[in-house]
């Protein structure tokens, strides 16, 4: 489906944090429980200003910790409210216990994550260790390359979460500082267009509907726990189809088409493929353009959806390539990078399996430049040993 991009869009200079806050304002949440943490704080700061200015009618609940923020989010969501929040790093770690409960209770909470390294050592800068820690919590996880994506995918993500075939919480993840604090041109949609796109949230069994009382969050023993988990599996399986449907609709509205569950950049004829999440995908596009000028057939696969993991689509896209460099901005200590493990498993379904390389980069905010990304292709071309994990930009 070919969609014409808008000729000339009105763009505003916004940080990724401000872009996420505008999406929150336009999504008109009834309840936003929040606790500040760097580098997420400007998201809720900007949103709180919108509420104070009367631009959105939201009950902000200032709580004493992220554990309480997520607990209040679950309670408000069960009551029937559209609930949004935001966090980073240690905040997400503290929430994690309740994150599992939010997904099991099928609360479509929307959460902006400004991705930041986990302590220790203590560090405030970007990597994906917080988001990767939460990858098994039953949330949809969307990674964003820039402020525009942080805005667009917050809007689409909320409708996805609330879709009756899904009903799962969603994290929209942007790289801490690199995107949250970097100002870029962002095209915002009109308020009413977003309101119409996302609609009102109608909870299936709102606790506040006292005419139809329900019990929520009860004990589930060996007789039912397993079946309830299986329902979450089915909900996750529905995400990809609903995502594609919603993106087509969103494209008609915005002129921006997030086609498929990942972006394929110069991938068609590529022998060598880089797989990346988040802001570094933008830097990698510059690296790939330069490599293409040297007549190297390199392409990029940038995932928007990490949960659910689009295994089938990725296997199809990587089938028959010579080699694939998988760049992880997080460690799973004692094993391969999280993204590498996923892709390695996904490729079991195909016969023409490329050689996979695992690169760890950018931990604790270590910068990564196009030249460093370009040099990866040398390993791939000379068929270097793929049995070792490699580190980019590390002093050894």
């Amino acid at each position: 489906m070919a969609l014409k991009m808008l000729e000339r869009e009105e763009r505003t200079l916004l940080t990724g944090a401000e872009a996420a806050a505008h999406a929150m304002r336009q999504l008109r949440p009834a309840v936003v429980p929040v606790y500040p943490i760097t580098p997420q704080t400007p998201i809720i700061e900007t949103f709180a200003q919108f509420v104070a200015d009367g631009l959105v009618d939201t009950e902000i609940i200032n709580v004493e910790s992220e554990h309480s923020a997520m607990s209040a989010a679950v309670g408000a969501s069960c009551a029937g409210a559209r609930v949004l929040t935001a966090t980073s790093s240690q905040g997400l770690a503290l929430m994690l216990e309740i994150c599992y409960i939010a997904s099991a209770m099928r609360c479509p909470i929307g959460m902006a994550v400004g991705s930041r390294a986990l302590s220790g050592p203590i560090n405030i800068h970007c990597d994906h260790s917080d988001s990767m820690m939460a990858r098994d919590a039953g949330w949809i996880q969307i990674f964003c390359e820039n402020a525009q994506e942080a805005y667009d995918l917050s809007v689409v993500g909320q409708r996805l979460a609330e879709d009756g075939r899904v009903l799962l919480p969603v994290m929209t993840i942007q790289d801490g500082f690199t995107i949250t604090h970097s100002a870029e041109p962002v095209a915002l949609l009109p308020d009413d267009a977003v309101a119409e796109f996302v609609g009102e949230y109608q909870a299936l069994y709102p606790l506040l509907d006292t005419d139809h009382p329900t019990t929520q969050g009860p004990f589930a023993l060996p007789d039912y726990y397993f079946e309830i988990k299986r329902q979450q599996v089915d909900a996750m399986a529905n995400v990809g189809g609903v995502w594609s449907e919603l993106q087509e609709e969103f494209a008609k509205l915005s002129g921006r088409y997030y086609r498929g569950v990942f972006e394929a950049y110069k991938l068609d004829d590529a022998d060598y493929v880089y797989v990346i999440l988040g802001a570094t995908a933008g830097t990698a596009k510059v690296a790939i353009d330069r490599l293409r000028r040297q007549r190297k057939r390199v392409g990029l696969l940038k995932l928007w959806l990490f949960r659910p993991f689009p295994a089938r689509e990725i296997a199809q896209a990587l089938q028959g390539r010579k080699a694939v460099a998988i760049l992880d901005r997080a460690l799973s200590l004692g094993s391969w990078g999280p993204l590498y493990s996923e892709i390695s498993a996904a490729l079991n379904a195909i016969s023409a399996r490329p050689v996979l390389y695992n690169y760890i980069y950018g931990l604790g905010g270590r910068d990564i430049r196009p030249e460093q990304l370009m040099s990866i292709v040398n390993d791939l071309e000379c068929e270097a040993n793929a049995d070792v994990q490699r580190f980019i930009g590390l002093r050894e």
Partner: protein
């Protein structure tokens, strides 16, 4: 692409002007990016901020290593080895310094062979009624940069930012113009190419 690095001290408004310039560039039809460098945030400590300008969409999300222009908001940073205002500055790049000294004197002091633009921004700011030299230097950059960056677009962005402080806005607009016209008077500006 033009990459600009701003050096200042915490509280001098390096981040603000880096963003104002990007916003004005956007008005003029350019793509732009502005971001500060974050360390421990202390008033008075050396800080850096960056602006990228281009005629095409900017996809880079890494730091700036070889700026085309370096702007020094505080002359006491010039001799600091830790700050290194010349680090990575392109040989044919431009160094813009807030200093009462002449560009020849500054060249002697810091041994830079490229173009040096010296501007007594503290004095110009004072005369305009503000203690912030950052906006004077922003005006100077508007004079140095390609035609897409116009004084009127920077003025409009300044007005937007300071719309709640009419008195400070007046002084800042005067400071901005002082910086712009100081450079326009000094020499025929060499227009940099995006």
């Amino acid at each position: 692409m033009i990459e600009i690095r701003w050096h200042g001290r915490g509280g001098q408004g390096a981040k603000t002007v880096a963003q104002l310039l990007a916003a004005a560039a956007l008005r003029g039809g350019l793509w732009a990016q502005a971001f500060p460098e974050y360390g421990p945030e202390r008033s008075g400590a050396p800080v850096r901020a960056f602006t990228r300008l281009d005629r095409r969409e900017i996809r880079l999300h890494c730091g700036v290593y070889q700026p085309d222009i370096v702007v020094v908001l505080d002359p006491t940073l010039l001799d600091s080895k830790e700050v290194g205002v010349l680090e990575g500055l392109k040989r044919h790049g431009v160094l813009v310094v807030n200093s009462p000294k002449s560009s020849e004197e500054l060249r002697e002091q810091i041994k830079f062979s490229g173009r040096i633009v010296a501007l007594d921004a503290n004095r110009l700011a004072r005369e305009a009624g503000t203690r912030f030299a950052n906006v004077v230097l922003l005006g100077a950059l508007a004079a140095l940069l390609p035609e897409e960056i116009s004084l009127s677009d920077v003025e409009e962005e300044l007005q937007l930012t300071m719309r709640d402080k009419p008195k400070a806005l007046e002084a800042n607009l005067a400071a901005l113009r002082a910086g712009f016209y100081a450079l326009r008077r000094q020499q025929e500006p060499e227009v940099l190419v995006c």
